[in-house]
Amino acid sequence: MGVLIEVNNVRKVYYIGSLLNRRPVKAVDGVSLKVEEGRTHCIVGESGSGKSTLARIMALIEGPTAGSLNVFGVDSTKYFRKGLRSDERNFIRKNIQIVFQDPYSSLNPRKKVRDILAKPFKIHKISYNEDDLKKLLDDVGLEPPEDYLDKYPHQLSGGERQRVAIARALALLPKVIILDEPTAALDMSIKAQILDLLVKLKKQYNLTYVLISHEVPILTNICDDVTVMYYGKVVESGDCRIFKTPLHPYTIGLLNSVLIPSPESKTRNIFAIPGDPPSSTSVVSGCAFNPRCPLTSEICVKHEPELRDVGINHKVACHKCDQGVFERYEEYRDSIMRIWKEML
């Protein structure tokens, strides 16, 4: 399977503050990952992890400050500096599309659904007719399509708007669709429906997804590859099996924080990782997670951990996570949770 998008040590820095007092904000701080054809690559992270910035960079809406991004084998800097022939540029543009989180603001409130869906065709000067638009609406489950074509976004529900956003991304049959928190703003049952839709479309059109979310439950159902981000860096990555045996304390903590709708939840102790995530402007020494980590020690405060291999297709950036001492994985995990419970 080919690698469609390759992110190499990408950094993105923003500057905030006034003219005389500009402070850098490291939104993405050295992230590398590979998106392989036909697979769903999930990027897990919470606010401040840099995932949305990474999404915009991968969707070629912005360029990285440092590092490189290869899409379909082409260096993205060429894309931004007009170093490509126009047909190459169009090819790239057409084949990476993005769906945003907020279905309320990702559709132009002054345009009808029909205009929103026609836009991709118009921009790339591809002829289309009403049947093409209807088919798109059909594909995303908005039936009967005639009813939706002339509606404005404010006349649709959140789930319906998100479907229109997905249809828009699908219009030119891209190879890769990046989804930035596609279900975060939706109600629970709609989340499930949208997920089903995404799975169906992936099979139908041979799509490759980059799915970015902090909602762990939806990711565990759909992912093939996973990258976990914290404060602009990758802390754990690999294929979906890392959800069964995560090694990084943040990943373990995250999975344990999920509030499960089952009767046992009432009596079960709720776990929450203590402390708050670092704010975007705070300066952190060593490992960004160390103030909240149960395994923290001197080396964690002094040195940033590097991403290293810990198994087949499993990388972790941590000085101290090493299952080695424990025979079974569960013991490793339990020991970490024990320390954390005491911290709480």
């Binding site: 703003a185 109600d187 999975l255 509030l259 089952s262 009767p263 709720i270 990782i273």
Partner: protein, 270 residues
């Protein structure tokens, strides 16, 4: 078993919104009771009317909303028939409400200590700073003195939420309403908030109504769950009853779709 008089009794509540020239039913004939030291979760999707119920209880309905029918009895007194001044007396003192975004609801120009002072003065109670400090300590706020001297925007999200809860609890209300306390928050912060609410319940023996669209949140904290759909109350029961033996079709569908969502994580629970 002796049936204790319920703390809150909502009877046949019906609320209508006037939008342009049409009327839309937000809440249709909803009745339920809440006892002392009981936690109730009202679960529903957006537009189901769950928030409207909360707003009706605290009297914060928008201008275009009309309570067409019903009574809301709090300790036997119908809140809907009270004069605004009497209603104000109750809000903050007997019934408190917290929202999702604490910082948006705190005056950014006033130090936290003064925000508390204002609250005491509004209700004609003498300002007791020791009580505030003790409360903040109970809510696990580190260095409460410093927090009191800070401005809201200087606090981290988790800290601000604790201050907000402290404001809601400091006058010893009997009922705390939390309107979508976890929506749109990160996973770990959601867990923190629910943990905090549980601690509040255990430490203060207070009745709570949690409004949420997340069944996981409801299951983690509620004694009883109410399910709303399109303004109607379609299900009521303990978490076990609602999740394992739902009586209404809507609830059954809801539970099923969430089950598939959480499948990957359920087996993983520690």
């Amino acid at each position: 078993m002796i049936r204790l008089k319920p703390l809150l009794e909502v009877r046949e509540l019906t609320v209508v919104y006037k939008v342009r020239d049409t009327m839309k039913y937000a809440v249709k004939n909803v009745s339920f009771t809440l006892g002392e030291d009981e936690v109730l979760a009202i679960v529903g999707e957006s537009g189901s009317g769950k928030s409207t119920i909360a707003l009706s209880i605290v009297g914060a309905l928008p201008e275009n909303a009309v309570v067409v029918r019903g009574r809301i009895l709090f300790k036997g007194v119908d809140l809907l028939r009270l004069r605004p001044s009497e209603r104000r007396d109750i809000n903050g003192k007997e019934i408190s409400i917290i929202y999702q975004d604490p910082i948006a609801h705190l005056n950014p120009l006033r130090k936290v200590r003064l925000i508390f002072k204002d609250l005491f003065e509004d209700h004609g109670v003498e300002f007791n700073i020791q009580k505030v400090l003790e409360l903040l300590r109970k809510l696990k706020v580190p260095d409460p003195q410093r927090v009191l001297e800070s401005y809201p925007f200087q606090l981290s999200g988790g800290m601000a939420q604790r201050v907000f809860i402290a404001l809601a609890l400091v006058l010893n209300p009997k009922l705390l309403i939390a309107d979508e306390p976890t929506s749109a928050l990160d996973l770990t912060i959601q867990a923190q908030v629910v943990r905090l609410l549980r601690e509040v319940r255990e430490n203060f023996r207070i009745s709570m109504i949690i409004i949420t669209h997340d069944i996981g949140v409801a299951a983690s904290i509620a004694d009883r769950i109410l399910v709303m759909c399109d303004g109607e109350l379609v299900e009521e029961g303990s978490p076990e009853e609602v999740l394992l033996r739902p009586k209404s079709k809507y609830t059954a569908n809801l539970v099923n779709s969430t089950k598939t969502l959480y499948e990957g994580v359920m087996s993983w629970v520690y």
